[in-house]
Structures are given as structure tokens and as C-alpha cells.
């Protein structure tokens, strides 16, 4: 067992970022190495991970600002580990995909690594102070990725992304303060320890419902904006459209997951204790995100925007599964996080590849690309199929579990989702595929050809992962099941008490 595995995973990319910043054109090798180490570590952790344990694993804890009750505490459980794993995989693949980046490669790869630092930190931090710091750090690399390597409206998109999500984080920070100042340890001290604070929220004498409602709303807003959920999603399409491919990939695959992670880590332990109206509100938001996102995707003319809205729709499943709060739905939602994380990579890589091979992403201007790019077409089709929920690939398992699991507690919402989104989702995916890839090849595209092998490799690896986790979801749902059981426990108690 590797000591301090998590800290190592956070530090190695940080050092890697510094080194590759000064490595000039060699940056990509540094970056690959610096991202492979966390991947290896996370694989090792997977081997050692006790899937049946309900407590945090690989915990490290050091005093940091003892005066304020701030500790450097990191650890993973069934909620965090899959996302940690996802982050390490996606970063490696994104770096491989970007192998041919020639514009300021040193900064580019450094930012990708810095992003990994932030994301890994968010998924492992067990102290709100630490959590918030990593949460905010992530903004910086993404801001530059969009701003430096982005499209024509990159400034607008980058600033909108930064300010929009930052405002939400600040609201979240206020809520964290409220938690912090309301709860005292037995010796009168304050703590930012997440698990302690969250456990304390169930104590009505410390957190009266009226107070908890406000705290809850603040935290929820922070996470929903990050997810993003309707109606807080409008920063996402802009950011995606302007971001470079790698930026879009990490944005959709990892950054959005931070919001979902927050739901599981922070929101759900509080959910049983807050006003019941929140369940309705969140459920409505979830349903709207799913359905509205799907319809929005249908209306898009830019294939990347379409994919961006599909993210809104798919992340809605996470919200739905979380708020439905059944053993199955929680697992489904967690798995949807993981699954969307990998699937969306291939979607954005497809959009990016189309952009740089053909020079446009406007769906109406494309046509018949499969003729000249057969390998790419296969991979893109596989990705789209995974995204529309084709069985055998991970997306289906996730969505099926969410829907099946959500029905007992939220029957109406679930049925609305099934009726309005399943076919719509298929519609926009297929429509885009058909328009872009099929039909006769347009004359102006006679000379296009399959993209570089490293791009195809990244996409293919993701398809393989999608298949692996689609065919054997138990690889990762087992630990999610344990986490779900853990999350359910307060509910069980409350049910026994007749509160719910």
C-alpha cells in the first residue's frame, strides 16, 4: 500500500505543471508522465480499495490552520473514488488527444495538469476549507484554456464562465461559513471537517430547520450551477463552444462532475433534514434539466453546442437520481457521473476533430464525412450511441438505474423524463450523426481524411472503457452501492421514526 497516495496524486501533477511550463516543446512528454503517475496510483488504489467498507479510505489528515479549525484532510469512499479514477483516466487521454498541440504547448499542458490538481483535490478533500480552495483553483486553468486557445468569442465565454461559477461558489462559501459557525465541537472549537459538519446537520437542536434550509439552499446553488442544472446552465454552452477541445473535454468530463460530487458528498446527507419542499424543487430542476436540455440540443446548429446541451440533459439524471434518494437511484446517479464523464469525452473529441479536420462545426454545413473518415466515423458513432443510452455501454446502465430507482419516490417526474427525454435524446444524436457523417460526401470535403492516430487512440480507449463499464458495471457500482447504503442510513432511521 502506497503511503500518502492521494497527496502524491495531487502533488505530482502540480510539479508536472511547473516542469512542463518550463519544458517548452517537451512539455507533452512531461505532462504525459505526470498524468500517468496518478493513473497508476489510482489503479493501485482500485486494487486496494475495500468496496464493502463504509468508512473513508486512504485518509490523510494534517493540521493546517488549527486556529480556524482547518485541516488538510483527504480520503476517498465509494462516492469519491470513481471520480478520482475518472479524473486520472480522462487527464491522460486528453493529454494524448492533444499531442499535436502547437500553440504554446508548455502552458497548455501545464494548465491541463493544474486542472487535474484541482479536480483531484475536490474529489478527495474532506475539509470544507480545502474543498473550497480546490474548487476555486479549477476555475483558473479552465479560464485560460478557454481564453487562450478558444474560439472567436473566447473572452466573453471565459469571463462568463469564471464569474458565473465564481458567484455560485461564493454563495456556497457563505453557506459553508454558516455551517462552520453554527456547529461547535464538544470542546467548543470550530471545525471545517466535512463529515463532522454534515453529520451534525441532522441535529435539530444545533441546526433548526429554518437555518438549515438557508444553508442547504446556498450549497445547493453552488453545486447546481456547476453541474449545471436548468436554469443555471447558460454559461456552459458558451464555454464549450469557445473552449478548445481538451478544455471542453475536461470541462464536461471533470468539472461538471464536481457539482454532482457536491450533491452526493454534501447535499444528500442534509436532504433528509431540510424542508420537504426542496425535494420537489430539486426534482423539478432535474426534470427540467433533462427534458429542456434534450430539446435544446435538438435545436442547436453547432455540433459542439449540441453536445454541450446533451451534458445538461445527462447531468440532470444525476440530480434526479440523487434527489430520488433510493438505493438504486443513488447508485445510478453516481454511475451516471462516471459514465457521462467518459462518454462526453468522446463526444467533445468528435466535435473537436470535426472542427479541425473540416473547419466548421455547423451541422448543416457537414455531410458524408464517414466516407473519408471511416475510423473516426465508427468511433464517433460509438460515442453517440453510448450517449443516447445504448445498452451494453455505460450510459444505459446509469440511466436505467436512475429511472428505475427514482420511480418509487418520484413516479411522476420519472415518467415525464422517460416520455420526454429518451426518444428526444436519440433524436438529436441521430440527427447530428446523419447530417454530419452520412449521405454523399460534399465536394469541398473530398480531401479530408481520418485524424491523427493519437486522437483516434484516445477516442477508442474511451469507447473501450464505455464498453467495459457498460458490460460489467459492477466494477464500479459495487463501491457505489456501499456508498449509497451509507447515504441511505439516515433515511432509514427517519423512516423508522415516522418522519418521512
Amino acid at each position: 500500500m502506497i503511503a500518502n497516495a492521494i497527496s502524491l496524486m495531487i502533488i505530482v501533477p502540480l510539479i508536472g505543471a511547473l516542469v512542463s511550463f518550463f519544458a517548452g516543446s517537451k512539455a507533452k512528454f512531461v505532462a504525459l508522465l505526470a498524468s500517468l503517475i496518478p493513473l497508476v496510483l489510482s489503479l493501485q488504489m482500485y486494487m486496494e480499495f475495500d468496496k464493502t467498507s463504509k468508512i473513508m479510505q486512504f485518509v490523510e489528515s494534517y493540521n493546517w490552520v488549527p486556529t480556524l479549525g482547518v485541516k488538510y484532510t483527504v480520503g476517498v469512499d465509494g462516492i469519491g473514488f470513481p471520480l478520482l479514477f475518472l479524473s486520472t483516466i480522462v487527464t491522460v487521454l486528453v493529454i494524448i488527444y492533444s499531442w499535436g498541440e502547437t500553440k504554446k504547448p508548455n502552458q497548455y499542458f501545464a494548465l491541463l495538469l493544474l486542472n487535474e490538481v484541482g479536480v483531484l483535490g475536490v474529489f478527495t478533500a474532506l475539509d470544507f476549507f480545502l474543498f473550497y480552495i480546490f474548487w476555486e483553483i479549477v476555475l483558473i486553468p479552465m479560464f485560460f484554456l478557454i481564453g487562450s486557445w478558444g474560439g472567436p468569442r473566447k473572452d466573453y465565454a471565459a469571463i462568463k464562465f469564471f464569474i458565473y461559477t465564481h458567484v455560485a461558489s461564493l454563495v456556497m462559501l457563505l453557506a459553508i461559513f454558516a455551517l462552520y459557525f453554527t456547529y461547535q465541537l464538544p470542546d467548543g472549537s470550530r471545525t471545517f471537517d466535512m463529515l463532522t459538519l454534515l453529520q451534525a446537520t441532522s441535529d435539530k437542536t444545533i441546526f433548526p430547520t429554518s437555518l438549515l434550509n438557508i444553508i442547504f439552499a446556498g450549497l445547493l446553488l453552488g453545486f447546481l450551477v456547476k453541474m449545471p442544472a436548468f436554469p443555471f446552465h447558460t454559461w456552459l454552452p458558451d464555454a464549450h463552444v469557445e473552449a478548445p477541445t481538451a478544455g471542453s473535454v475536461v470541462l464536461a468530463a471533470l468539472l461538471l462532475k464536481m457539482g454532482g460530487y457536491g450533491l452526493f458528498r454534501v447535499i444528500m446527507p442534509m436532504l433528509p433534514n431540510v424542508d420537504k419542499a426542496f425535494v420537489t424543487i430539486i426534482a423539478i430542476i432535474a426534470v427540467l434539466s433533462i427534458v429542456y436540455g434534450a430539446f435544446m440540443a435538438l435545436a442547436q446548429k453547432d455540433i459542439k453546442k449540441l453536445v454541450a446541451y446533451s451534458s445538461v440533459s445527462h447531468m440532470g439524471f444525476v440530480t434526479l437520481g440523487a434527489v430520488a434518494f433510493t438505493w438504486m437511484s443513488i447508485q445510478g446517479a453516481m454511475f451516471q457521473q462516471f459514465s457521462h464523464g467518459i462518454i462526453t469525452c468522446v463526444l467533445f473529441m468528435s466535435a473537436g476533430t470535426i472542427q479541425h479536420v473540416v473547419g466548421t462545426r455547423v451541422i448543416a454545413d457537414l455531410g458524408g464525412l464517414a466516407d473519408r473518415m471511416p475510423k473516426f466515423a465508427v468511433l464517433m458513432m460509438a460515442g453517440f450511441m453510448a450517449s443516447l443510452g445504448l445498452p451494453g455501454m455505460s450510459g444505459f446502465v446509469a440511466e436505467f438505474m436512475v429511472l428505475t430507482g427514482s420511480y418509487p419516490t418520484l413516479p411522476t417526474y420519472t415518467i415525464i423524463v422517460v416520455f420526454l427525454s429518451v426518444a428526444t435524446t436519440a433524436a438529436y444524436h441521430l440527427w447530428a450523426m446523419q447530417k454530419a457523417m452520412f449521405g454523399p460526401i460534399l465536394k469541398k470535403y473530398m480531401n479530408v481524411h481520418d485524424p491523427h492516430s493519437y486522437e483516434l487512440f484516445s477516442m477508442a480507449m474511451i469507447i473501450v472503457l464505455t464498453l467495459i463499464f457498460g458490460i460489467q458495471p459492477g466494477l464500479i457500482t459495487d463501491m457505489m452501492g456501499t456508498a449509497a447504503t451509507q447515504l441511505m442510513e439516515p433515511v432509514v432511521t427517519l423512516t423508522q421514526m415516522g418522519v418521512i
Binding site: 458565473y164 466516407d371 445498452p391 422517460v418 416520455f419 441521430l430 446523419q434 459492477g474 457500482t477
Partner: protein, 674 residues
């Protein structure tokens, strides 16, 4: 022994899929022989299993998968006959395809996708739980999509593929709803499951149907029916099937005639106890089936594309099967046997017809029957094998279709006596039309004069061979198998813990009981078990009902001949109605379904909603944000004007500031705030 290798029934085609996908490009004919061999292997295993478990055993294997779900293999009579039929027909079609696809640059892709399809279809058949069935159900849908769009450079093919996927997806929405409802209803029973038992396993479902509230059962049944309607091309989700003919003909034969489209029927048969228990469940099945049978047949009359005629025919025949199952409300599990018999028989003769059509198209290079004519002169094998198929389809005595389809009509009469005559009337009319359009096709293709200059040669033996084999089955299967088949399938649900009597009460089949049909409705006592289908013995229908199908078949063929066979031609079809006749126009336009579904619903309602959402998003959801930022920035612009640069103004501001503070604090003192 063979049962231990049951997994290979799916495994072999999967292997073929992988091989064709990655190395097919380097193999002769795209590696098609691999696909055919793999399927043949599956056939051999299926036969082996058949020999092991026939007549009274089943195979059930299961292992845990994730969460509360498992993967498993369930081979009971229902699954076994499907397995045998699919492996057999598909082996033939793959063999045929080796000839048909020869020279196509995408052959490897074709065979990879075909192998994947085979695997999925077989997986669907012997899935032991509903989730697994759904997964393979979707995968066959995917393969259907891929294969319809095989010639993706053709915009119409790409569009048809999309349409097929989306239309069946609409059905799948309902199917998924059904599964969700079923799972949660099962879960809420808090069953004490034994190890190896899972909530969505068919045996478990069968055993606990009676405990689920009837209203829920109806919802579940309607959901599952929705899935079946989509997949089996029943009204109103049949619209994709004629378009699906854009794919290679072998695909049409394999997927859109013999195997995949029957999955819907198979699903209803598989869940028959549930439909039986659900109040109005079978009524809905019967209604959908009977209506589709007639509705599609009318369209089959007017189509000019030979494959579309066959496609409408398929839709119509699937309607017959559905109706046959629906009639179970009157005759009990016997309906499963009757419907499945038609399913199997149909797959032989319809595969034959499609392959024959493919053979013709292969030579003639067009789908349009108006440009054929007299093809029989050059393609004797094709002509005669297709004749056998056509006769079988039309229900000519002693051909397979006669035994299977007419059995449905007969028990529909039974149903009519007991419950409602509408299905019977619909089916009889559909049968008449079937004979007419089948022979309209056959006559206009093979007889008469050449209406255009087409290639005049017979297809290669690799294509003819399967035709001949299929022709043998299209002719003889019905006669040879009928009695054993019924008894074997009627025993299907005896392997499970199903109490049809109880379910009958839940399902409200009291009517049947009053008329003394309770016996027929309960599995064990069904006279069908004695070797002959029971309703006939219990209720001997009047002789004219028995004879009617024969009259229908022969009459229909003759009618077609009067219009299209040059030897006895009496009428010119184009003279019967004017070109502007609204009914003719409506039939030609396929009841304006394209206009309604694609034009109005998909492009109007769905895409319109999407556009409205888009406007809302831009103007409102993002708009308020932009408005806010514009407002703040405008405000900021005004604020900074305060800084005038004149030092005297600064001093004034200072004084004003102090004054304001004085006033505020004094006021606050007054009201006791500070």
C-alpha cells in the same frame, strides 16, 4: 452437454463480429463465411439443446450482474423454437449474403454488423430476465439502424435508418416505462428471493403476477405492448418498416422480415401471463394486431417497390401474430402456440420472399415492379421458389401459411363468438388482401412482358441454395410440424409457477368462463395439451368458417390474376380508379403517415418545441443575465461620472457625505436603531 455451451449461441456470433470488424477487411468476401459459420455453430448448439431438452425440460442458468440484476439464459419451448428458427434462417441468409454482398466495398462492415445482429437477436431470445431482454432488444435496434443505413452515402438510407431507430425508440420509451413499473411493483412486494432469483427474471415475474395490483398490471402490459408495437411495426409505429427497405435485401430478409421484427411478438408471448392477468391487456394486443393486419395490407396493395410490398406484408402478418396472441383472452395459452406457429412459418416464407426479391433485384437492378415483368423467363429458380413463398403467404391450402395464418383466423372467430367479432372481420379482410397483393407482386414481376431493359441472368448458386432450402420449409413446415408444435408450446408455461386460473380472474376473463372456455384458458387443462388445438374440439366451428380461408386464398389469387396475370387479365388496374381518386391517393401516400408523423409531429411539434426552448434560453434564461450585466455596467458608467476631476466638487462631496452621515445617525438615534 450442449446446455453447457448455451452461452456460445451468443458467443460465436460475437466472436465473428469482432473478427469481421478488425480483420474482415483482409478476408475474402469481407469474412462473410465467418459470420455464416458462427451462426451455423449456434444452430448446431441449438439443435443439440433441442435434442437434450425436448420435450419436457428447460434450461435456466443465471449469474449476478450489478445491483439487483443478473444475466442469465432461459431456454424453454418458446425460446427454443425461436432459437432454432433464427439460427436456421439466419444461417441461410448469411450464406446467401456471401453471394449477395460479394464485391461491395463495405462487405466486412456488413458481416460484422450482421454478426452483431445475430448475437443480439439470439441473446434477446434466451434472456432470462426482462432487463437483459431489453438490452438485446436495443442492440438489435442498433443493428437494424446500422444495417438499414448500410449504404450511408444514400441520403434516403441514412434518413430511413434514423427513422427506424427513432420510431422504435418511441416504443422503447413505453417498454422502458413498463420495465420500470414492473420492477418497482415487484420490488414493493418485498419478496424473499432465493439465491439466484432476481426481480426481473421471468420465472419470478410469472410467479408473483397475481400479487401486483391489476391497474398496475394493465399499465405494465400497455408499456410492454408499446415496445412490441414499435419493434414489430404495429400501428401506429409501423412507419419505419417500409422505409427500412433501404438496407440491403438480405437485411430486409433477416431483420425486417424473419427475425427482429418478430421480437415484439416474442415479447408479448414471453410475457403472456402478464398480458393475460392485466385487465384489457390482451384486448389491446388483439385490437392493435387486427387493425394493423388490415391497415398494412391495404397499403401493400398499392406499393410499387417490390420490397415495400413485402414490408407492408410483413407488417400485416405481424398484425396477424399479435392478433393471435390477443385472442388469448378467449382461448388462453393456446394463443401463444398459434401465434408462434405463424411467426415461425412466416419467417420461412417471408425470408424466402425477400431473398427471392433480392435475387430479382440483384439481377434487375431496380426495386420498381413497374420496370420488371417477365423476369420468370430468366430466373426460373427464383420464380418457383418465390411462387412457393407467395402461396404460403397467401394461405394456399397445405402450404405453411395455410396452417398458421388460417389457424389465427379460426380462433379469431372463437374470440368473436365469445367477445367481439371485430378482430375476426379485420383479419378475414386482411387475409383476402394478402392473397391479392402477394400475387399482384408475383404476377407483375415474373409474368408478362419485360417492361424495361434489365440484366437477364439467374443468381449464383450460393444465393439459390438458401432459396431452395427455405422453399422447402415454406412449403412443408406447417404440415409437418403443426401438431407437435402446438403441444410443445402449449406446455411452455407449465414449467413455471403460473396460476392461470387466478390470473384469469384478475384479468377479468369472466366472459370466457361463462361460455365454458375456462378450461381453455387455464394452461393445464387446455385440450391443446392432447395434441390438437383445443378450441376446435371444444367448439367445433361451423364448416363455412373452416372453409373460408381456403376460399379467401384462392379467390384472392384469382382476383390478382384478373388484374395482373397476362394470361387471364380482365381489368387494367389503372382503369379501376382515376388517378385523382382520394382513396387511391391516400393509399399511395400511405395514409399520409409521413406527412403526419414526420412533417407534423417530428418537424412541427418536437422540433418546434425545441426551437421555442431555444428562444426561451436565449431571451430569458440567458437574457436576464445579460440584461443584469448590461444594467450593472450602465449603472457603473453613470457612477464613474461622479468623479468630475474638479477639486472643489470633491470637497463638496466630502461635506455632503458628512451631512448624510449626520442625518442618518441622528434619525437612527431618533427611532432607536443605534
Amino acid at each position: 452437454m450442449y446446455a453447457d455451451y448455451a452461452y456460445l449461441i451468443v458467443g460465436l456470433p460475437v466472436l465473428a463480429f469482432v473478427l469481421c470488424l478488425f480483420v474482415g477487411w483482409h478476408l475474402p468476401r469481407g469474412g462473410g463465411f465467418l459470420t455464416a459459420l458462427a451462426t451455423f455453430g449456434a444452430l448446431v448448439i441449438s439443435l443439440g439443446i433441442f435434442s437434450e431438452i425436448y420435450p419436457d425440460k428447460i434450461i435456466h442458468q443465471s449469474m449476478p450482474w450489478f445491483a439487483n440484476f443478473n444475466v442469465g439464459i432461459l431456454i424453454d419451448p418458446l425460446a427454443l423454437v425461436m432459437l432454432l428458427m433464427v439460427t436456421f434462417v439466419v444461417t441461410l441468409i448469411h450464406t446467401y449474403a456471401n453471394g449477395y454482398m460479394n464485391g461491395d466495398p463495405g462487405a466486412a462492415r456488413y458481416f460484422a454488423e450482421a454478426a452483431l445482429f445475430t448475437a443480439s437477436m439470439l441473446g434477446l431470445i434466451y434472456a432470462d430476465n426482462l432487463l437483459q431482454l431489453f438490452i438485446f432488444w436495443e442492440l438489435v435496434g442498433l443493428c437494424s439502424y446500422l444495417l438499414i443505413g448500410f449504404w450511408y452515402r444514400k441520403p434516403s438510407a441514412a434518413a430511413a435508418a434514423k427513422k427506424a431507430f427513432l420510431t422504435t425508440r418511441v416504443g422503447d420509451v413505453l417498454f422502458l416505462t413498463g420495465i420500470i413499473l414492473l420492477y418497482n411493483n415487484m420490488a414493493s412486494l418485498n419478496l424473499a428471493l432465493k439465491p439466484g432469483e432476481y426481480l426481473l427474471q421471468f420465472p419470478v415475474i410469472y410467479a408473483h403476477l397475481a400479487e401486483i395490483p391489476p391497474a398496475q398490471l394493465t399499465l405494465i402490459a400497455l408499456g410492454l405492448l408499446g415496445g412490441a408495437v414499435g419493434k414489430s411495426g404495429q400501428f401506429p409505429l409501423h412507419v419505419w418498416l417500409p422505409d427500412a427497405m433501404e438496407g440491403p435485401t438480405t437485411v430486409s430478409a433477416m431483420i425486417h422480415a424473419a427475425t427482429m421484427v418478430t421480437a415484439g411478438v416474442y415479447l408479448v408471448a414471453r410475457m403472456f401471463p402478464l398480458f393475460y392477468a392485466a385487465p384489457h391487456g390482451l384486448t389491446a394486443v388483439a385490437a392493435v394486431g387486427a387493425f394493423t393486419a388490415l391497415f398494412a395490407a391495404t397499403m401493400g396493395l398499392t406499393a410499387f417497390d417490390i420490397k415495400r410490398v413485402l414490408a407492408f406484408s410483413t407488417v400485416s402478418q405481424l398484425g396477424f401474430m399479435m392478433a393471435g396472441l390477443g385472442i388469448g383472452a378467449a382461448v388462453g395459452t393456446m394463443a401463444v402456440g398459434v401465434a408462434m406457429f405463424h411467426l415461425i412459418g412466416h419467417s420461412f416464407f417471408k425470408a424466402l420472399l425477400f431473398l427471392g426479391a433480392g435475387s430479382v433485384i440483384h439481377a434487375v437492378n431496380t426495386n420498381d415492379m413497374r420496370e420488371m415483368g417477365g423476369v420468370g423467363k430468366y430466373m426460373k429458380w427464383t420464380m418457383y421458389t418465390m411462387l412457393i413463398g407467395s402461396l404460403s403467404l397467401a394461405g394456399f391450402p397445405f402450404f405453411t401459411g395455410f396452417f398458421s395464418k388460417d389457424e389465427i383466423i379460426v380462433i379469431a372467430y372463437e374470440y368473436g363468438v365469445l367477445i367481439n367479432f371485430l378482430p375476426y372481420i379485420f383479419l378475414v379482410l386482411a387475409a383476402v388482401l394478402t392473397a391479392i397483393y402477394t400475387f399482384r407482386m408475383w404476377f407483375s414481376v415474373f409474368t408478362g412482358k419485360e417492361r424495361s431493359n434489365y440484366g437477364k441472368h439467374e443468381s449464383p448458386m450460393i444465393m439459390i441454395g438458401p432459396l431452395v432450402i427455405l422453399a422447402v420449409f415454406a412449403f412443408g413446415f406447417g404440415f409437418a410440424a403443426q401438431s407437435d408444435f402446438y403441444s410443445y408450446l402449449d406446455s411452455n408455461f407449465e414449467h413455471y409457477d403460473v396460476n392461470f386460473e387466478e390470473l384469469s380472474v384478475i384479468g377479468g376473463h369472466v366472459l370466457a368462463g361463462e361460455h365454458g372456455a375456462t378450461e381453455a384458458a387455464t394452461g393445464e387443462h387446455a385440450p391443446a395439451a392432447e395434441g390438437e388445438h383445443g378450441a376446435e374440439e371444444a367448439h367445433a366451428e361451423p364448416w363455412y368458417i373452416q372453409i373460408l380461408p381456403i376460399i379467401i386464398a384462392i379467390g384472392g389469387i384469382l382476383t390478382a390474376g384478373l388484374f395482373y396475370w397476362d394470361k387471364i387479365k380482365k381489368f387494367d388496374p389503372s382503369q379501376v380508379t382515376g388517378d385523382n381518386d382520394p382513396i387511391r391517393k391516400m393509399l399511395l401516400k400511405g395514409y399520409y403517415q409521413h406527412e403526419i408523423l414526420t412533417g407534423w409531429f417530428a418537424e412541427g411539434v418536437v422540433y418546434g418545441t425545441a426551437l421555442i426552448c431555444n428562444t426561451i434560453d436565449i431571451k430569458l434564461v440567458d437574457g436576464w443575465l445579460n440584461w443584469l450585466s448590461a444594467w450593472v455596467m450602465g449603472f457603473a458608467q453613470n457612477i464613474r461620472k461622479v468623479q468630475s476631476g474638479v477639486v472643489q466638487n470633491y470637497v463638496t462631496a466630502l461635506v455632503l457625505g458628512i451631512v448624510v452621515l449626520v442625518v442618518v445617525i441622528s434619525l437612527a438615534k431618533e427611532v432607536g436603531l443605534a
